[in-house]
């Protein structure tokens, strides 16, 4: 480490630090979730537990919300948009509203600028990365996430979650987190990397559906579509286009306002990369 090194290193740092880290993106991994198809069955959530080494915390800690569910199914009983359309009843006549909530992988992520050690940053493929071994656990990122999608290792969960031989199921492709580290949905980055490496090894472009995220793969109703938003040919890009939802907008100006695509808390201008398609009810 010479004086020169430091200066170069510093210059590189300044170059890469503007605009969330990168100017040119290889991919922008995005998602489209159809709430008309989602039945809220939890399959995605459990698949996420299986794929991403999520710790089981047990009832006592669950009661304190010290819980790890990167993919959580939110369930609401009211439906503001339908309030006037449906006749009042003392029963839950239009069923429940299910919302699969996972990290929105925002392009203008609010968690990124606040991390003191740059443990969370934007990768060249547009992912909102969380580097476990860099994290010091200031928890600022979670406090600044409007979606509340970051989860903290309050304890060394790995000591209690996988009594032998349960630990043999752990996925070797990604790290098991220790106490004091923030974690969140990674869009199954280990699968992305595996597929990209494979494509690179035989010098070809990565195709659509060459790999799937764990939640997408298991979803019984195929409500979840995942892919590259940079490539207009992928199914997810087509869905976004069809629903006239675009990245980089604080609110969409749709020619056809009836199209169902929307993004949660869009007005906050966090520019999430997950588009939801509105739930449908016959009234």
């Amino acid at each position: 480490m010479s004086f020169k090194n430091i200066l170069e290193d510093w210059a590189r740092y300044r170059r890469t630090r503007e605009d969330g880290g990168f100017h040119v993106y290889e991919h922008k991994w995005g998602m489209a979730i159809d709430l008309n198809k989602c039945i809220g069955c939890n399959a995605c959530s459990v698949a996420c537990y299986a794929e991403n080494n999520l710790a089981v915390v047990g009832p006592e800690r669950f009661a304190k919300n010290q819980v790890m569910h990167w993919m959580r199914i939110e369930r609401y009983w009211d439906e503001p948009q339908l309030a006037q359309a449906v006749p009042a009843s003392q029963y839950q006549e239009n069923g429940g509203s299910f919302l699969p909530m996972l990290c929105q992988q925002c392009m203008a992520a609010t968690c990124e600028p606040v991390c003191p050690v740059a443990a969370t940053y934007h990768t060249p493929d547009g992912l909102n990365a969380q580097v476990y071994n860099r994290c010091v656990g200031s928890r600022y990122c979670s406090n600044n996430c409007p979606y509340r999608l970051r989860y903290f290792n309050w304890f060394s969960y790995y000591e209690s979650s996988w009594p032998a031989p349960l630990h043999m199921q752990l996925n070797p492709d990604l790290t098991v987190r220790d106490k004091g580290v923030m974690e969140k949905c990674t869009f199954c980055v280990q699968r992305i990397r595996r597929a990209k490496d494979k494509a690179k090894m035989d010098n070809r472009k990565l195709g659509d559906f060459e790999f799937q995220t764990a939640c997408q793969q298991t979803c019984p109703t195929t409500a979840i579509v995942f892919g590259d938003l940079m490539d207009p040919e992928t199914q997810v890009s087509k869905l976004w286009a069809a629903h006239q939802v675009e990245l980089g907008k604080a609110e969409q100006d749709k020619e056809n306002p009836d199209l169902r695509g929307y993004r949660v808390f869009e007005a906050l201008n966090t520019d999430p990369k997950i588009m939801y398609m509105e739930r449908v009810r016959e009234v």
Binding site: L35, C41, V176
Partner: protein
């Protein structure tokens, strides 16, 4: 061939290879320790398969055994450890998809409480033994000599060559298939019985993709009904543009109810009345042709005019007319009935009434079509029922058996208290339980045999409901057995048969050999022109299934069954109905020992790790309880105390307590958690099929006084005006994406 197997097994052996071990270390000290040179060991293979590369996962096709549906799976194996299970895209049942139970089969396989050694009862208590002792004990009881018909098998749903072996064993024992009790709490026995009478086919094929409207009387087809994943995939088609309407009628909101366009809370046990009421409306208002109905049926229907039905069922009249109108316009439709409607003393008639609607609407042949018949009857699934449970209990009363073998079932947990099954079992001289865990039944056994988990076992399975195309699903081990002190159920069966019928079975080394020979003996058209037996075998393993051609059943013709539904009667002493609702995840309680499923919230109430009682706000007000208060629920058979969850998705007269918890054994994750509502069921049966009337129990409820936090996921249950789940009406949907033209 067996040499081939040796290599396979060796390949499936667990390896610890550099960088590939379970990265069981966080970001701190633990991981640095692994850096000390010469501390960790790297053990290479002795003789590896060519395609086996450390650090690269390999996928194996197999079959999911988490519930009787029999989905096809792919298991990801790395360094000999199965890490992840995904659906098999080739399987026509689940088309590459899987439910949460399928995903968490891994934790059953790697479960820390798995039974690793045989248990033998010595001087009253179960002690660990080795296989020889265990098999000797079995040999001296049922090894030779005529047990005749004083021997019985008690199993869960079985099919494929397992069923064949069981059948063979029963015959070898001289008892015959009459003594094979097949038990499932969550079943569709009643509607199958109705189908058999009305359509002549127990399980016709339901064409969700054809239906424009589904009216379901408590058939939770997105949850535990026949084949959850399959019907979920079908549901997706049904909901794709042009979007079909789903109307769910049930006392307690199930997952299907939560996704219905219109969810109708009906007074428990009056679903049939509502069906007849709708039929009435269809005939009178929409003057549908009732020609094909016999006179008595028409008279029955005529009795149920709108006011009567509204009074009995507690469903508002306008809703009933609306549903009738929808059914009239949106053909072809499909009317289903399920557990909560059929689990009554008049369950059969309720199901028949639902089927009546299908006949009136002319759905038979359109959305209900023949599924033909399976070419190999001996492989067809023996589906479980609750009738068999009570029949078994009665048989035990008579002291009918000297020896009973149990496999893939836990009757002591699922049997109501009034059957006192545990006590009766203790009177049976010799009980053998094949299981993976120390479950309640195992604790009453004389010999407990630890068998392979679903990822270590060979087998073939024929799902009862197969949808389009039919096939034999192949189960192959995706990893080497974790414990060399466990054995495959099939292998043990072969040994048992060798005891009784050595001449026929001596030639088989083990179940694996037996299967291969069975495959070799398949007729040519099944082998799809495979070059050789070996080639056919390998291709079957790769596909994870053997497609077979089923005999077409031709067009279905329906003849309406007579329907007689008793009038609804209030019960002053026990004003409420107990709804022991099964749920996707826990199923009937067999998955309570899986941490992932314990921590995966219930879809409706979002409660985890516990039992709860769902009640309506009005009821809560009447009882003076708030969320988390304990409710003392008493039937004529006993009492349970459980915390309440209050929401509007349940009928006022109903108290729903989900199945699954309340285990007294079954490992650290299940033991002593929550309550088991099945225990306090009243001794009621469906008149015609003899199925338990699971949903017919009347209870009284009082505030117990205790209060404890109900561990629920999530804070607010309303969106507080934010746009989280936005909802549009279906006509908007049809305008943009409907009319067949999906946005894509």
């Amino acid at each position: 061939m067996s040499g081939n197997e040796i290599n396979r097994r060796d390949f499936l052996k667990i390896m610890g290879l550099s960088g590939a071990g379970a990265a069981l270390a966080g970001c701190d000290m633990p991981s640095y320790m692994t850096l000390e040179q010469g501390k960790e060991e790297v053990i290479p293979y002795v003789v590896p398969e060519e395609f086996n590369i450390p650090g690269v996962g390999v996928w194996y096709a197999s079959t999911c055994r988490q519930c009787p549906a029999g989905c096809g799976t792919h298991g990801r194996v790395r360094e000999g450890r199965v890490l992840k299970v995904e659906g098999n895209p080739g399987s026509p049942i689940n088309r590459g998809k899987l439910c949460q139970m399928g995903q968490s089969g891994l934790q059953g396989h790697y479960n820390p409480d798995r039974l690793t050694k045989p248990l033998v009862r010595k001087s009253g208590s179960l002690v660990e033994a080795n296989w020889d002792e265990a098999m000797d004990a079995i040999k001296q009881h049922v090894g030779s000599g005529g047990a005749g018909n004083r021997f019985a098998w008690f199993t869960g749903t079985v099919s494929g060559h397992q069923a064949v072996l069981l059948q063979a064993h029963l015959e070898a024992m001289g008892s015959g298939s009459g003594h094979h009790y097949v038990h499932e709490v969550v079943n569709t026995a009643v509607s199958q019985a109705v189908n058999r009478e009305v359509l002549g086919e127990a399980l016709p094929r339901y064409r969700f993709d054809q239906a424009r409207m589904i009216l379901s009387f408590g058939a939770d087809f997105l949850g535990p009904w026949q084949s959850p994943v399959h019907f979920s995939t079908e549901y997706a088609k049904f909901r794709a543009a042009p979007r079909g309407i789903l109307v769910q009628v049930e006392p307690k909101m199930t997952l299907t109810g939560a996704n219905a366009d219109l969810w109708l809370a009906v007074r428990p046990g009056t679903e049939g009345v509502l069906a007849l009421g709708i039929a009435n409306a269809l005939l009178t208002k929409h003057n549908r042709d009732a020609g094909q109905l016999p006179a008595d049926v028409r008279n029955t229907i005529a009795r149920y005019d709108l006011d009567t039905v509204t009074r009995i069922t507690d469903v508002p009249g306008d809703r009933i007319t609306k549903v009738a109108a929808w059914l009239n316009e949106r053909g072809p439709s499909l009317v289903l009935s399920g557990l909560s409607a059929e689990g009554q003393e008049h369950g059969y008639d309720t199901a028949a009434a639902a089927m009546l609607l299908n006949i009136i609407l002319g759905n038979v042949g359109k959305t209900i079509v023949s599924s033909g018949s399976f070419p190999f009857p001996q492989l067809v699934a023996r589906e479980g029922s609750t009738q068999s449970l009570s029949a078994f209990a009665e048989a035990l009363d008579k002291g009918a058996y000297d020896a009973v073998f149990f496999y893939d079932t836990n009757p002591v947990f699922t049997a109501p208290d009034y059957m006192a099954l545990g006590a009766k079992l203790d009177k049976v001289p010799f009980k053998v339980v094949f299981t993976n865990f120390r479950d309640e039944t195992a604790m009453h056994a004389d010999v407990v045999l630890p068998i392979y988990s679903q990822y270590e076992e060979w087998g073939t399975h024929v799902p009862a409901y197969q949808g389009e195309g039919s096939f034999i699903s192949v189960q192959q081990p995706v990893m080497n057995p974790l414990y060399d002190t466990t054995r495959g159920f099939g292998d043990v069966m072969i040994d048992l048969l060798k005891m009784r019928a050595p001449d026929k079975y001596a030639s088989f080394k083990d179940y694996y050999g037996y299967l291969q020979q069975a495959f070799a003996s398949f007729p040519a058209e099944v082998k799809q022109g495979a070059a050789s037996e070996e080639a056919f075998w390998q291709q079957s393993l790769q596909q994870g299934m053997v497609p077979v051609k089923r005999k077409e059943g031709g067009a279905l013709t329906a003849k309406a069954a007579a329907v007689a539904i008793p009038d609804y009667s209030q019960n002053a002493q026990y004003p409420y109905h107990l709804i022991p609702s099964p749920r996707l995840g826990m199923w009937d309680g067999r998955h309570a020992n899986v941490p992932w499923l314990q921590e995966a919230p219930d879809q409706i109430s979002k409660v985890v790790w516990d039992s709860w009682a769902e009640i309506h706000p009005d009821t809560a007000q009447k009882l003076g309880v708030a969320e988390g208060d304990y409710l003392r629920i008493t039937s004529d058979q006993g009492t349970i105390e459980v915390k309440v969850y209050i929401f509007k998705g349940i009928h006022r007269d109903a108290i729903a307590v989900p199945l699954g918890q309340g285990h007294e054994e079954y490992g650290r994750y299940a033991k002593g958690r929550g309550v088991n509502p099945l225990k306090i069921l009243s001794p009621l049966k469906d008149g015609k099929t003899g199925e338990l009337a699971m949903f017919g129990t009347r209870v009284q409820a009082v505030k117990a006084g205790r209060n404890e936090k109900l561990v629920r996921m999530g804070g607010s249950e309303i969106q507080a005006g934010r746009k989280l789940v936005a909802t549009v009406t279906a006509d908007v949907f049809r305008r943009t994406e409907g009319g067949g033209k999906d946005v894509l």
